[in-house]
Symmetry: C2
Subunit: 339 residues, 2 copies
DNA sequence: GAAAAATATGTCGACGTTGTCATGCGTCTG
DNA sequence: CAGACGCATGACAACGTCGACATATTTTTC
């Protein structure tokens, strides 16, 4: 193992001087600095993080604890955002998934503690309210895509589902749609309620009556084993005499079934029925024909901002532990037409 | 910080005895062991990995270096497999993404070295042949979902695209299909060639002529910015007088467009045209109606086995650095009918 | 019942790094 | 020119853990 000591020997200086060079401390002659740097290059020296950590009790490592995020296709962009931030700021990321099991969660907190993690990003796959088993370990924590249930608040960052659904609804209304169908997300998800509320409120404000709305449940049951009514619901909705001219889908994935249901009934998209999604899950939204108009969940930014926020918490700046919210931008594609 | 020393003080023994208890070494009375364990619990002691590593020069940590895997929806199951193995075997996972940039890659290898990583899993999003910039760091490495180009071989684990496509083709042939269309994956991907070869070979063996086959390119161009011809290709294919009774899609995602193309032409699936995918990317294969018959990429097992294999390499057992291959199981759903 | 073996516990140092303090040298101030 | 100051460097200890070795106690063996 090539250590600071071997570098010092080769450069003909003390180890402390090498340490100074490595850490960019002042009070080193240009000449010694160069000698040391050459020795570092020649020997291929790399600092030993474990030793640093033991000395400084700072690991420069953040932990991600997730339910399924990194192992599920949907919210990977959160992780990407975090990693990009970490990369740009010289931090390392240690990742663990609970798979939803709370005994796992406790084990993971212990593991984080063991590794002297500086801070934890608590990430969930679906936007929801939870009660993190922080294991009372006292590591600074920021929640991403979820919000703590209990009063002992942790700072959190969430997508603005309400605003996203409101913008989407307005978009349809502005294009002349007055009969609108809505196929609901699984009600366990926080987004489901927020999106539906926004839909109801916005159509109401615009003067639509309850009879102009056609609302159906698309999915229900435990995440990962839900019952799927989307195709049936869409088919039924589109067979009504007075069928909606536009359908809002709880998310993009569900929109696949709505497309297929519409086409099976011989309806053209968007001429006969307009469809909008939610999430901008691009594997779907860009694969559908016509491409899907939808509201983009700000996953990447959630990750980036979350890491940034955690960093300031760790650095000790007094972040008030409130919930920060990021907007969902409307992505206009070709699945909606004006009437 | 509660260390071994504080535990020793409380338990009234030497630190070495505490160390012995922690590591389950023999030669400790039942009585002392209990006293120590109680002290550990009372103080909430957790071993300090950094210190351990510095002492033993083993970190019990594996690194994942990926192009985009963990930040892309497709192959997250590889990561899940690795993490499950790590969890079950008390290893920790450090994860980094190159985003495809090779200067990133070098940086990441340095970082791994800095952290004293025991072994590295080199994972790619798409099955392909690459030349890893291992940074000549000499950390044991196993490649997952890819194969090294150069002669200095590293052990690798890959999916058996050929077998998967062969089984899928046979499945169609056995059900009486004699006119079969094929929409090709992006040819940069190793899977594209293997799958197409299998399709050609298997139909040929079965006695189909080239004229019975209708092969079109679905996508091309750099990953992430490819040109997409799928919808057009499928539409054109299905408008032929002598249209195929079944279409094999390069992957599940492309099948979305094939479904829509077929339906737009008023064709029913599977009565008028059968469709099979590849990958079993469940967000798609289970969302399509009828659900998609496909071959499942063994991603989870790739991860699990890869971690296992890396572990034996690290432990020093002489693993011959050859390529191991895992089969793609056919998943029968409802998108194919017998003629 | 003495020597040998097995069991139980302790002391000490080293891993690689950096913070604290000390030292040496040159330059400035009055 | 004495003292103060700024700069450049080094000596040393300490972080938490565990391996090597030493010591103390008990058990086995003939």
């Amino acid at each position: 193992m090539v250590s600071i000591v071997s570098v010092a020997k080769v450069a003909g200086v003390s180890n402390k001087t090498v340490s100074r060079v490595i850490n960019g401390e002042p009070y080193v002659t240009e000449e010694t600095r160069e000698r040391v740097e050459r020795a570092i290059r020649d020997l291929g020296y790399v600092p030993n993080m474990a030793a640093r950590q033991i000395r400084s009790s700072r690991s420069n490592t953040f932990g991600i604890i997730a339910d399924y995020v990194s192992t599920t296709p949907y919210s990977v962009d959160i992780v990407r955002g975090i990693q990009d931030w970490a990369n740009a700021n010289g931090k390392t990321i240690l990742m663990a998934n609970t798979g939803g099991a709370s005994e796992q969660e406790i084990k993971i907190w212990k593991m984080f503690q063991s590794h002297g993690i500086d801070g934890v990003l608590y990430v969930t796959m679906y936007h929801r309210i939870i009660d993190p088993e922080t294991g009372d370990v006292g590591i600074p924590t920021v929640m991403i895509n979820c919000r703590p249930k209990t009063s002992e608040l942790l700072p959190s960052i969430e997508p603005d589902d309400y605003q996203g659904a409101r913008d989407l609804t307005r978009y349809l209304l502005e294009r002349g749609h007055r009969k609108i169908g809505y196929i609901r997300l699984n009600p366990i998800l926080l987004g489901a309620e927020l999106r539906l509320d926004a839909f109801r409120k916005t159509t109401g404000d615009f003067g639509l009556a309850a009879s102009d709305l056609s609302i159906r449940l698309g999915m229900e049951g435990p995440v990962g084993a839900e019952k799927n009514y989307v195709f049936a619901a869409a088919t039924e909705m589109l067979q009504q005499r007075d069928r909606p001219t536009a359908i809002m889908s709880g998310n993009d994935e569900m929109a696949i079934q709505i497309y297929i249901a519409a086409m099976a009934l011989g309806l053209r998209i968007p001429e006969d029925v307009s469809i909008v999604g939610f999430d901008d899950f691009r594997t779907v939204s860009l694969a559908l024909r016509p491409e899907l108009t939808t509201a983009a969940l700000p996953y990447y930014d959630l990750g980036l901002q979350g890491a940034e926020l955690l960093n300031s918490v760790v650095a000790g700046s007094d972040v008030c532990p409130s919930s920060r919210v990021m907007s969902c931008n409307l992505v206009e594609r070709l699945s909606v037409c004006s009437l």
